[in-house]
């Protein structure tokens, strides 16, 4: 299935598409592949950058909501173009209990596969994907980059999956 992209118009991969597999560094010497998580729902949260100066930034919010995601047996992965050491510092500062993946080299390559890369800015869109147990995207959402999309869309998608 090909999606004709108009230049300059962001379009994230829609529901029904197979989620492209990828392998990214989660720590300096460990990588995590999407295919390793086959068999459980996966939430991919692409976001622009670590350390935005807001109390309840998106990753901190998802950190608080983690128990609700876990009720569905879902795994949450945060992805930005920041490097592993930046992620390490950010995860420590926010006490994050889920992995942050570094879409660092080639820069934004995974985000691009998902239609979630802001080429002009050089960072990811605020884009969410809920992938079902067999690796198909069940729900996706592109948020305006300045608006924290919250967790309600994710939870609704997880609920719909479990029906």
């Amino acid at each position: 299935m090909t999606i004709d992209k108009q230049p300059g118009v962001a379009s994230v991969l829609p529901a029904g598409t197979a989620a492209p597999d990828f392998s990214l560094h989660v720590t300096p010497d460990q990588t995590l592949s999407l295919s390793e998580l086959r068999g459980k729902p996966v939430i991919l949260a692409f976001y622009p950058a670590d350390f935005s100066p807001v109390c309840g930034d998106q990753m901190a919010l998802y950190n608080e909501v983690l128990p609700e995601f876990q009720k569905f047996g879902a795994e949450l992965l945060g992805i930005s173009v920041d490097g592993v050491w930046c992620h390490h510092a950010f995860a420590e500062a926010r006490h994050l209990h889920f992995p942050l993946l570094a879409d660092f080299e080639p820069k934004g390559a995974v985000a691009q596969m998902y239609g979630a890369y802001r080429r002009a800015d050089g960072f990811c869109e605020r884009a969410l994907f809920v992938i079902d147990k067999s690796g198909i995207i069940a729900w996706s959402y592109l948020s305006p980059v300045a608006v924290n999309p919250g967790a309600d869309g994710i939870l609704q998608a997880l609920e719909d999956l479990s029906k």
């Binding site: 807001v54 109390c55 309840g56 901190a60 994050l96 608006v147 919250g150 309600d152 869309g153």
Partner: protein, 182 residues
């Protein structure tokens, strides 16, 4: 557009008439500095609208980054169970820098509540589920940080300075009146 999924009920902590044309719901965290700023702004907004506005506060503690947020929320609920929610809510925001057990005991004493009972309630987690219910309801409603405001059930996505809140509430009240007279 994110909508409030948990309607306001008499079980909520609210100020103002229940049939007011405008309802402002805040999901807040007592240790969050943004909520600290919002605290005095909301008071001004309430003064401006008088009888036209009902204000509801619900808990949304960001426990992972604010170590006192949960205990502060439970302390306010403890006071609420004895009819002193708003006094405690206000006192906690006015003393945001000093949140912790010594402050809670001091405030309890000031409000003629038992510090020992409060300590026990916190230890037992007596009000944890109330706070959790607020939190879950907030997540499902699209709360995306603190403070998050809902005006007549719709999440307010703009800034929460005085002017912006007043404008948004006036708009919502106006829409409500149009719908009702249609």
């Amino acid at each position: 557009m994110a909508m409030l999924k948990v309607p306001v009920t008499p079980e909520d902590h609210f100020q103002g008439a229940k049939d007011a044309a405008g309802t402002l719901v805040e999901y807040g965290d007592y240790e969050c500095p943004h909520c600290g700023s919002a605290y005095s702004i909301v008071k001004r907004v309430q003064k401006h609208f008088g009888k036209e506005l009902r204000f509801v506060f619900r808990n949304f503690p960001l426990q992972q980054i604010h170590p006192h947020a949960e205990s502060a929320a439970e302390t306010a609920e403890f006071a609420g169970a004895q009819g002193k929610f708003w006094e405690m809510h206000d006192a906690l925001f006015e003393n945001q820098q000093r949140l912790g057990a010594p402050l809670y005991s001091e405030l309890a004493r000031e409000m003629k509540l038992s510090p020992e009972e409060l300590e026990q309630a916190l230890e037992e987690g007596k009000y944890k589920s109330r706070v959790r219910d607020d939190f879950s309801g907030g997540v499902r409603s699209g709360v995306n940080g603190t403070p998050t405001f809902f005006i007549n059930g719709k999440r307010h996505d703009g800034p929460f300075d005085y002017g912006s809140l007043v404008q948004a509430i006036e708009g919502a009240i106006g829409d409500q009146r149009k719908t009702m007279s249609a």
